[in-house]
């Protein structure tokens, strides 16, 4: 047996990644779901008498420079982090699919044109493009979502294009074509469903990468606008006080990393189980 196969056997199985990923992601999603109905305190209520309280029973994550309860703020911040990443990936997924499948199916100049556009978007360091888009059209949650969706669309377009190029050579597509099925119908009903297994890992990893970008933009003050906050904004607010109140950095950072790491673990699990199934 070759050493690559051996290493596959000895490497942690997909389920280890799934369990770890679901636990980490679950913590953040649970915080989000609970925050919809209840937070310990009003996340934006200031309290001059309760500034910089260390983590204790009443305030498990402590309080910030305005006496706001950090646990409540972290819980409500998870809402924006999750919302932006999910909505942004949805846009990227839709745009990428619409551009990628025809590119792969028709080939030729359609393909060249679409790929040239996609490649030139990918030429910009992603965060730069998103920052500029938000700068030009103004910083708001909606604009951040659209900017990130556009920046990430070429990644999905690539996955769709490559997948389509493989699938369209299969006999059942040729058969459909010979039967006179219209290209639009072939692409939506016969090709797209078969791309799902390839799009799934890309979507999960896209969620994680988009969160990295969004939190960076919010950290720079070009994402979610105050008084609302995502994890990135909490961290940028906390930076000035990290000597007096390190917990202000640690807890939001922890939740942010839990979310991203959870997604990475799940995508790793998908990768392992798909590669095993494939071979």
């Amino acid at each position: 047996m070759s050493s690559a196969n051996r290493s596959l056997k000895r490497a942690p199985g997909a389920y280890v990644f799934y369990i770890a990923g679901v636990i980490l992601l679950g913590i953040v999603v649970a915080a989000f779901v609970v925050s919809l109905f209840w937070t310990p305190f009003d996340p934006n209520a200031t309290n001059a008498g309760a500034k910089f309280i260390k983590p204790c029973l009443e305030h498990p994550f402590g309080t910030d420079n305005f006496g706001r309860d950090l646990l409540s703020r972290v819980m409500s911040a998870s809402k924006y982090t999750i919302y932006i990443s999910v909505a942004g990936v949805a846009i990227a997924l839709i745009l990428g699919t619409i551009a990628g499948i025809p590119a792969g199916y028709f080939g030729g100049y359609t393909d060249k044109g679409i790929m040239l556009l996609g490649n030139s978007i990918m030429c910009f360091p992603g965060i730069l493009l998103a920052l500029v888009a938000v700068a030009v059209f103004g910083a708001s949650v909606t604009n951040v979502i659209w900017a990130l969706g556009l920046v990430f669309a070429p990644t999905f377009a690539r996955v769709c294009r490559l997948g389509t190029m493989e699938i369209k050579e299969l006999d059942y597509i040729t058969h459909a074509r010979v039967m006179g099925v219209k290209p639009a119908r072939i692409m939506t009903l016969h090709i797209f469903p078969n791309l799902v297994s390839q799009l799934l890992p890309a979507t999960v990893i896209g969620l994680a990468n988009m969160t990295l970008f969004e939190s960076g933009m919010s950290y720079l003050g070009l994402g979610v606008q105050p008084p609302d906050a995502s994890f990135g904004k909490l961290l940028s607010d906390a930076q000035a006080y990290f000597r007096v109140a390190p917990w202000l950095v640690i807890f939001p950072a922890m939740m942010l990393v839990f979310y991203i790491l959870g997604l990475y673990f799940i995508s790793e699990g998908l990768r392992v189980s798909l590669s095993k199934g494939g071979k």
Binding site: A4, I127, V136, F137, L212, G216, V257
Partner: protein, 317 residues
């Protein structure tokens, strides 16, 4: 066209077309901005005559096509116009800030290569062993920490545990080169961390894959030592994938350092970019965006060339 030269010429044409398209995208993005630039600059109190005068001075009254070509000419001759906010040549402003961003990216890239290569080689020797598994788990975690969060944590660590660092002081390379490198070390490390993990992961799996191939078994049966097989056969074959990865990593590092500069208070392109954004200084903004994209495209081009040189099979595709 055939052979090496044909491949390189093709790539060169691709580079030029991409750059033109990038310039078109940048120009288009800044032309569809809502609001009259001259009006924004002068404020609501200015008279229409003043606004019109400024529009003429800025060339905003000319047709779009003329403006595009004059902008393109300017940007290609490193004279992309005057910044509204600083009242200085955009090229000069960018050149002043470039040493920070490029220096950080270069140091970070060195760190990525120097740390991930040896670790990947060691890890891939005995895949599945404890050391390999520990490296992989740490790699996953590092991968998930955004560079600016890593910066914050590193600053906290450095100031509380080692109390050695003066964060936010920047020394120009002309003053004191060692000091310049010194003040960029920590930020570069923060940018490099997730990329070390990424490069480690790809390199490791590439080496494992190569080691399982037939030619390694043949070399082994010919009595070559493990080290020789590694240096002569496995690493050169892993190079191609690592060159591609490195170009992706470099572009990420460039983007990452824009944010990390802000955490460490370094006067680099990131800071210039943010100030251009907040003051709606569009000549400066479009200059920064174009030149950063230019650097990225050039990196991709160079990595394609490097990959083609190290693996002739790519040229034949």
């Amino acid at each position: 066209m055939q052979g090496k030269a044909g491949y390189f010429v093709g790539k060169l044409i691709e580079l030029i077309v991409t750059l033109l398209l990038v310039s078109l995208l940048v120009f288009a993005a800044f032309s569809i901005i809502p609001g009259d630039t001259a009006r924004v600059m002068l404020g609501p109190d200015a008279s229409q005559a003043q606004v019109d005068l400024l529009r003429t001075q800025l060339g905003l009254d000319k047709p779009l096509v003329v403006r595009y070509f004059s902008w393109l000419l300017g940007i290609l001759t490193f004279n992309p116009g005057t910044s509204y906010a600083y009242n200085m040549n955009v090229g000069t402003l960018i050149a002043q800030r470039l040493p920070v961003t490029l220096g950080m990216s270069a140091i970070a890239m060195l760190m990525v290569i120097l740390i991930s290569y040896p670790l990947a080689v060691l890890s891939a020797r005995k895949p599945g062993r404890l050391g390999d598994q520990i490296c992989s788990v740490i790699g996953h975690v590092l991968f998930a920490i955004p560079p600016y969060v890593a910066s914050l944590l590193l600053i906290m660590l450095a100031s509380s545990v080692f109390s050695l660092l003066t964060v936010g002081t920047y020394v120009t390379p002309a003053e004191d080169f060692a000091g310049y490198v010194g003040c960029l070390l920590l930020p570069s490390f923060a940018v490099a961390l997730p990329k070390i993990a990424m490069s480690f992961k790809f390199l490791r799996s590439s080496i494992i894959e190569q080691r399982a191939s037939d030619y390694v078994r043949t070399s082994k049966s010919h009595g070559l030592s493990d080290l020789k097989i590694l240096v002569r056969h496995v690493l050169p074959n892993s190079n191609v994938s690592s060159i591609t990865i490195i170009s992706i990593i470099l572009s990420d590092i460039l983007g990452g350092s824009l944010i990390v500069e802000q955490v460490f208070n370094l006067p680099g392109l990131g800071r210039l970019l943010l100030s251009a954004i907040s003051r709606r200084d569009f000549p400066l903004l479009s200059g920064i965006v174009f030149y950063l994209a230019f650097i990225t495209v050039l990196l991709y081009f160079l990595s394609d060339i490097a990959a083609a040189i190290s693996d002739p099979r790519i040229r034949l595709k």
